[in-house]
């Protein structure tokens, strides 16, 4: 075993936690299937409220995409940590002689992979159903999705982990998560709208939003790594 404080050990623990989560998930594919289906049904519900006379409202696609991501993300976060709670495995992870922030980073990476898979289905679905030119700037959209999802998941993973021991955790997760992640939702929606609607600012506006999200990610990932140990100590 190498020095417990080194970066190599940190990355190794992160990788082990991520691999564990993904192995568990791949055996049942429970979260992947249910979350993807849930996201798709969200899109369908919005379709009924935002489509008039067979034509979607302008730029509704951007909003629908990000609301579906936020809702599906909450569901995935809740389920991932519910799994750890039922089997008392989070407790075991916390007892492991490793950096606790590395456990957080591993859980975060697992959630990101899951949400990435959900988004791979969601983006074409929204583009198809709402006739939105989402693939006009594929590089920018991908970047926006990556930094937006990272910001949402960075806050969400910490909150979901904290709430494992709390009562009424199912209700409290969205209650805490949505007010804090409003900047991510605004940036995601406005950035995507800038890419699909020519009058909303174009690529330059999307770049500004991506810049803000990178800054948001940096602050909140750092803050989460820093506070994880303190909030998880009983």
């Amino acid at each position: 075993m190498s020095d417990p404080g080194s970066l190599a050990t940190f990355l190794r623990v992160t990788w082990l936690v991520t691999r564990k989560d993904l192995t568990v998930e791949m055996r049942s594919r429970e979260i992947l299937y249910t979350t993807t289906f849930f996201a798709a049904s969200c899109v369908l519900v919005f379709a009924f409220s935002f489509v008039r006379d067979g034509r979607p409202l302008d730029a509704a696609a951007a909003g629908i995409l990000w609301i579906a991501i936020a809702f599906a993300g909450t569901l995935a976060l809740g389920r991932t940590f519910e799994r750890e709670r039922v089997n008392e495995t989070l407790h075991a992870l916390m007892l492991a002689p490793s950096d606790r922030p590395a456990v957080y980073a591993g859980k975060l990476a697992g959630i990101l992979v899951l949400l990435g898979a959900v988004e791979a289905v969601l983006v074409p679905l929204v583009a198809l159903l709402f006739q939105a030119p989402l693939f006009a700037h594929p590089g920018h959209l991908a970047l926006l999705l990556v930094v937006g999802t990272l910001g949402f998941a960075a806050v969400g993973t910490l909150f979901a982990a904290m709430l494992v021991r709390a009562r009424s955790r199912d209700v409290l997760l969205p209650v805490l998560l949505y007010p804090i992640t409003v900047p991510v939702i605004i940036a995601g929606v406005r950035g995507t709208a800038a890419l699909i609607a020519p009058d909303a600012g174009g690529v330059a506006a999307a770049r500004a939003w991506i810049g803000m999200l990178v800054f948001f990610d940096a602050v909140f990932v750092t803050l989460a790594l820093w506070t994880f140990e303190a909030v998880m100590t009983e």
């Binding site: 021991r165 709390a166 009424s168 007010p179 804090i180 409003v182 605004i186 803000m212 909030v231």
Partner: protein, 219 residues
């Protein structure tokens, strides 16, 4: 110290609130909004107290989380509750003013939206404390830290989001003749805040003491 000064501070605040309408009535009328602008003298001081209280809660939460001082947690709770109270005053007086000045109850203006979001974060904090069960004090301290870090992002994103759709807003620039009434109101609100905060903190301190005594008796 707090206990002895509580009654005088509260009494002074009450006297100042009683006298405030006189000063507010004597202050000049704002040219475009007229009488309805007078709501400003209650709206802005409450908003100031709301932000001060949010700051108190955030700092106390950080001290509690990393310094493990139990009293800091009680300070944070008192701060968060007062954000909810003064925020409610802001969010009730604001739309009343807006209805007369802008013609609508609510506008998605940057400052309105960010105040609403800040208020909602503290409501979430209180919900977590109330329904989170054991250990909720540490969790809510984490939430308060995140809420503090979030303020610049909310402000920036809401600002840019709104400036894409510019709208004329009425920005009140303070007439020198309005200043006495305004600062009088600010001082009155500050005293009220201090008195209520001290009372709330004392209640929480007593609760902690009672709990400690209970535990002692059990052993």
């Amino acid at each position: 110290m707090m206990r002895r000064s509580f009654v005088p501070v509260l009494a002074l605040a009450a006297v100042m609130f009683a006298a405030a309408p006189v000063l507010i009535a004597r202050a000049p009328y704002e040219t475009t909004m007229g009488l309805v602008q007078k709501i400003f003298y209650f709206h802005v001081p409450s908003a100031m107290m709301m932000f001060v209280s949010a700051f108190v809660c955030g700092i106390a939460s950080a001290v509690f989380l990393f310094g493990r001082a139990p009293r800091a947690d009680r300070v944070a709770l008192a701060g968060a509750e007062l954000v909810a109270v003064f925020g409610l005053v802001v969010l009730v007086t604001g739309p009343i003013w807006a209805r007369k000045a802008w013609g609508v109850w609510w506008q998605w203006d940057a400052r309105l939206t960010s105040s609403l979001l800040l208020w909602m974060i503290f409501l979430a904090y209180l919900l977590l404390r109330r329904y989170g069960g054991p250990g909720a004090d540490r969790l809510s301290a984490g939430l308060a830290l995140f809420g503090m870090a979030n303020v610049p992002f909310v402000y920036w994103s809401v600002n840019v989001w709104r400036t894409l759709h510019p709208k004329t807003t009425v920005v009140p620039s303070l007439d020198p003749a309005m200043r006495p009434a305004f600062w009088w109101a600010v001082l009155a609100f500050t005293l009220l805040y201090a008195a209520v905060f001290a009372a709330r903190l004392r209640l929480e301190d007593q609760r902690a003491r009672l709990e400690a005594l209970f535990l002692e008796l059990d052993e």
